[in-house]
């Protein structure tokens, strides 16, 4: 029995090579796309899952409700909160604080200095929370002592070469001696944060205490309640519930004198990667977006659906042939159930063949995906149970769904009807087929539109006037005090180079995220808490970054009074306060400030955060005589190489112990949108695949329906119709359906696209052109596909098609 079915199925496949190729190719491409997307989604969902305690760990986020903020969640909280929580709440087993990261120079003996790209400080129980395997050292004690440092294996190798790292002392850029207390296996890439060196918070504490004014009563900042500064994690006891803890912790903060504007909210560690897109200042290196996961899952299903529809369409088109077989088999005694098994078996077989092709296809295209998302996914069925399960599931779902029509409709025919001689299912399934083609094209058009909207937004982002000019700007960061002390010299040396147009010192660069400060603007009631972003820079920042003054004046280096007591604000700040003439106004910082600071100018609004976020009020402080933390340098057009070379030369003279290090402002900018750009690329690729598969199906269907109409075409030609009229006749029929598909696709695309755009505070308009272009493109592709067949049919000698009848 089975052998008989198999024979029929294989002979059918071979006899109708064209259909088989279309079906198998469509399904193979569809399933390959699907498998890639499964791998991608699997990775996105795998974050932190190597951590056995992940489900008990929560990130403490702060919501800043102050005026002037967008009320986003902030990834840091009060430094004093973490240690205070476990004693006060029995549900909480432990708390952990980790600082933001800093690029830090590390030197071992006479060996060349090396940068730790991401050095963070952590409480001593770090490894209770995150059990990264330690190659050397004891995780329980590695971060207990001041001046202890844990390195990743990679960084340890860079610093020590083949030498053993454990127990060795190295010097930091700031001149502190630290001891290596542990070497970690290199970190997995599916964790939300990133570090290559981990110091102890005890180090920070000891440094802060050492620099403390002798009779200060204020606690050091890492023990304060009055500011938010520390990424903090809480581990709940097994079986305890976190519900209600947002309120409990907020109340706890109030009891400790935290301002009314701060609220606490807990985020499960397992959501840190996918659900943090709106969180600012959280030092999360690797942010995903749960919406992307949904989008790609939907795309996978759509592509598969399009391929399955091809199969269904072509099998209904060929229904007449198979219906006869059904009739005969019933007449010789087959039960309907046996026929259903046969047809489902057949579609399973085809799906299996397609799947066997899909695997190598997915395997060979995986490096492309890896490149896009910066991951190291592997296609390995033996080691990936989920992937294996998906493959099996795909086989059965696709196999069965595509076999549904032949299995349930064809086998339902009464043998008498089928065998009476003049039976034609060709007509019967026409409506269904057209409906399915319309559906396919609607999906394809929706995808094209989506891709067009994403591209448009990316274009918008990259070409929008940001209020500053990010092109040709180099940023040199000072990594420690010794560098900061020589920054002025470096600036002076570079200013002698003609390749540099303008140089500015400061602590902040647009795009990196600014710090925030509490402000009491003149004439505002005390209970209205304003929190503004702040930027501290030298006067040259305006020419260097091409920022403009809207009102008043810039800081002036020549005026001694401009080093203190004056600030600039942005237009948003002035507008938020309803100030007609901001220049006469004063701002007060801190509780005891009674003198205030005068606003001397208003800068035009500039986007200092990504376009996902709205511009907030900014106050710009003059750097004054303090050495800055970084240097921004505008290069004269076309002289980048020259500028870099002279900068490197001067760097070597002025910072001999530090390897040359710089970044371009526009690279930093692009990195912010890397995820959006990659999403765009992935959507583009899958859109092309979807259209390709849909066209395969359309091609098959067109060839079938023209073959069916051969006689009609023959008659028309004999009656004197021109080739042109016939082609028009055949093509118009199909095109009508593509037009209907557009009408279905547009509302769908409109909905999805506007949802995606909602993620940007600043976004392109949804242009009618995106929709029309998508529709026209689909129409054009359909036209080419169908015309090819139509011309073929119309130019055949009519005698050929009329002879047999």
């Amino acid at each position: 029995m089975f052998a008989n079915y198999l024979k029929i199925a294989l002979r059918n496949l071979l006899r109708h090579k064209g259909y088989s190729i279309i079906n198998i190719a469509g399904l193979a491409i569809g399933m390959a796309a699907c498998l890639l997307i499964v791998l991608y989604i699997q990775r996105e969902l795998s974050f932190e899952n190597m951590n056995p305690k992940a489900d008990r760990i929560y990130r403490v986020l702060t919501i800043d409700k102050a005026l002037g903020t967008n009320n986003q969640r902030v990834g840091i909280t009060m430094p004093a909160l973490g240690p205070a929580v476990p004693p006060a709440f029995p549900d909480v087993e432990a708390s952990l604080r980790v600082t933001g990261s800093a690029k830090t120079l590390l030197t071992y003996g006479d060996r060349p200095s090396v940068y730790a790209e991401n050095l963070r400080m952590a409480d001593s129980n770090f490894f209770d929370f995150f059990n990264f395997p330690m190659l050397q050292g004891d995780p329980a004690t590695a971060l207990k002592e001041p001046f202890a440092l844990v390195l990743t294996a990679k960084l340890a190798r860079q610093i020590f070469g083949e030498e053993d790292a454990l127990g060795k002392t190295i010097k930091t850029g700031n001149g502190n001696d630290v001891k290596v207390t542990g070497v970690l296996k290199d970190l997995p890439d599916n964790i939300h944060f990133d570090f290559d060196a981990l110091g102890s918070i005890a180090t920070l504490k000891s440094l802060l205490n050492a620099n403390r004014p002798p009779n200060s009563t204020r606690p050091i900042w890492i023990e304060q309640w009055q500011l938010i500064a520390m990424p903090t994690y809480l581990m709940f006891r097994e079986g305890s519930s976190v519900s209600g803890y947002d309120q409990k912790l907020t109340k706890f903060c109030r009891e400790n004198g935290v301002g009314e504007n701060f609220e606490i909210t807990l985020q499960p560690l397992l959501g840190a990667h996918l659900r943090s897109k709106d969180v600012i200042m959280d030092y999360v290196a690797n942010k995903g977006d749960v919406n992307n996961v949904y989008t790609f899952a939907a795309i996978a299903v759509l592509i598969l659906l399009i391929a399955v529809i091809n199969y269904m369409n072509l099998s209904t088109a060929r229904g007449a042939e198979r219906a006869k077989e059904v009739g005969i088999r019933k007449v010789v005694g087959s039960l309907r159930s046996q026929l259903i098994v046969q047809f489902l078996g057949e579609s399973l077989l085809i799906t299996l063949v397609a799947l066997l092709l899909a695997e190598p296809l997915a395997y060979t295209t995986l490096p492309w995906l890896n490149g896009l998302i910066g991951a190291h996914l592997t296609f390995n069925l033996a080691h990936n149970a989920l992937l294996l399960a998906c493959v099996i599931l795909l086989l059965f779902i696709v196999g069965i769904v595509s076999g549904l029509y032949p299995a349930f409709v064809l086998t339902g025919f009464k043998p008498v009807t089928v065998l009476k001689g003049s039976f034609k299912t060709g007509q019967k399934g026409t409506k269904l087929r057209k409906g399915l083609v319309v559906f396919q094209f609607a999906l394809s058009i929706a995808l094209i539109t989506m891709a067009a909207v994403i591209q448009r937004q990316i274009y918008y982002v990259q070409h929008k006037d940001l209020g500053y000019n990010r092109d040709q700007v180099l940023v040199f960061d000072m990594f420690d005090r010794s560098m900061g002390a020589n920054l002025a010299t470096f600036r002076e040396e570079l200013s002698k180079q003609s390749s540099f147009v303008s140089l500015a010192e400061g602590f902040d660069v647009p795009g990196r995220g600014f710090g925030r400060t509490r402000v009491r603007p003149e004439g505002v009631a005390d209970e209205n808490i304003w929190i503004w972003s702040s930027m501290t820079v030298s006067p040259e920042v305006l020419p260097t970054l091409g920022m403009e003054i809207a009102q008043g004046r810039n800081f002036n280096r020549e005026m001694a009074t401009d080093t203190n007591g004056v600030v600039l604000i942005n237009e948003t700040a002035a507008r938020a306060l309803g100030w007609e003439n901001p220049l006469s106004k004063r701002l007060y910082f801190g509780q005891s400030d009674s003198i205030g600071t005068q606003v001397i100018g208003v800068v035009k609004d500039f986007h200092f955060t990504a376009l996902h976020q709205k511009i907030e009020p900014v106050v710009i402080f003059p750097l004054g005589n303090t050495p800055g933390g970084l240097l921004m340098a505008r290069i004269q057009g076309g002289r980048i190489a020259e500028a870099l070379e002279s900068a490197q030369q001067k760097w070597k003279e002025i910072f001999p112990g530090h390897p040359f290090s710089y970044s371009f402002l526009d690279d930093e900018f692009n990195a912010t949108y890397r995820q959006d750009i990659n999403t765009g690329k992935i959507v583009n690729t899958f859109t092309i695949l979807a259209i390709f598969i849909a066209c395969l199906g359309l091609f098959g269907l067109a060839s079938y329906s023209t073959a069916q109409r051969n006689k009609e075409i023959g008659v028309r030609k004999v009656m004197g119709a021109s080739i042109g009229t016939i082609v028009r006749l055949l093509v118009l029929d199909f095109l009508r359906w593509v037009v209907i598909a557009n009408l279905i696709a547009w509302p769908l695309a409109l909905y999805i696209a506007s949802k995606w755009l909602d993620g940007f505070a600043y976004r392109t308009t949804l242009s009618v052109w995106s929709f029309l272009a998508a529709g026209t493109m689909a129409l054009f592709i359909a036209l080419i596909t169908v015309s090819f067949q139509a011309v073929n049919a119309a130019t055949t000698n009519p005698v050929k098609s009329l002879r047999y009848e």
């Binding site: 008989n4 088999r329 007449v331 005694g333 087959s334 009476k420």
Partner: protein
């Protein structure tokens, strides 16, 4: 063997009912060879399909070996059909993707035969119809007569008690037609009950009884 009592078959065409068979009463005993004749559109095929359980009746009763076919559900009818009936078509209706051998084997697949039984039955039949040499050919590599030979062979391979044939020679020229009729006649002598539809007086002569059908009525 077969008892039809007041059997009516009607199709709904719009508001009206079109009667294709009216008040048919028919008894067939085992071993008979009946030829149904009549003008085109008289309802011959319809009657044959009803007897063959491929079509249902609108009114009346149909008993097959004392089983009330009109009252049986689809599954039971199919089981009955499977056990006792074979069908031959005017246009052969072989499966194009299967060889002669496989076409013959197919009905056995749906019945309870193991593979060696199937093999010997198919070989016997090929022998008996003298088409051993053609067993690996596909239907489109055979002449019309040869295809019908396979059609008949397929119908009788599982030894049905009743063989129904709708114009089995309709598409064949006279020499081939005669061969087929001779074959049916031989089968009848081996105790197979046969009901055929035919337009030819000569072919009807092979049978033991002739039924004249006109406008859905049996004329005697």
């Amino acid at each position: 063997m077969i008892k039809l009592r007041s059997v009516t078959k009607a199709y709904n065409s719009g508001v009206d009912k079109t009667f294709v068979l009216r008040n048919i009463n028919l008894h067939v005993k085992e071993g008979e060879f009946i030829s149904i004749m009549g003008p085109s559109g008289a309802g011959k095929s319809t009657l044959l399909h009803i007897i063959g359980m491929l079509d249902s009746i609108s009114d009346g009763e149909y008993h097959f070996f004392d089983q009330p076919v009109h009252a049986l559900n689809e599954k039971k009818r199919a089981a009955l059909y499977k056990e006792y009936l074979g069908f031959v078509f005017q246009s052969y209706h072989l499966i194009d993707d299967l060889t002669v051998y496989e076409n013959l084997e197919m009905p056995l697949l749906y019945k309870k035969y193991n593979s060696s039984e199937r093999k010997s039955l198919v070989c016997d039949t090929l022998d008996r119809f003298q088409i051993v040499g053609k067993k690996n050919l596909f239907p489109n590599q055979l002449s019309g007569g040869q295809q019908q030979l396979v059609g008949v062979a397929r119908a009788i391979i599982s030894k049905p008690k009743l063989l129904l044939a709708d114009e089995p020679t309709g598409n064949l020229h006279s020499v081939q037609g005669e061969e087929i009729m001779q074959l049916l006649s031989n089968l009848n002598q081996d105790r197979t009950t046969i009901i055929q539809v035919t337009h030819s007086e000569k072919n009807a002569g092979y049978g033991t009884r002739i039924l004249q059908l006109k406008d859905g009525w049996i004329e005697n």
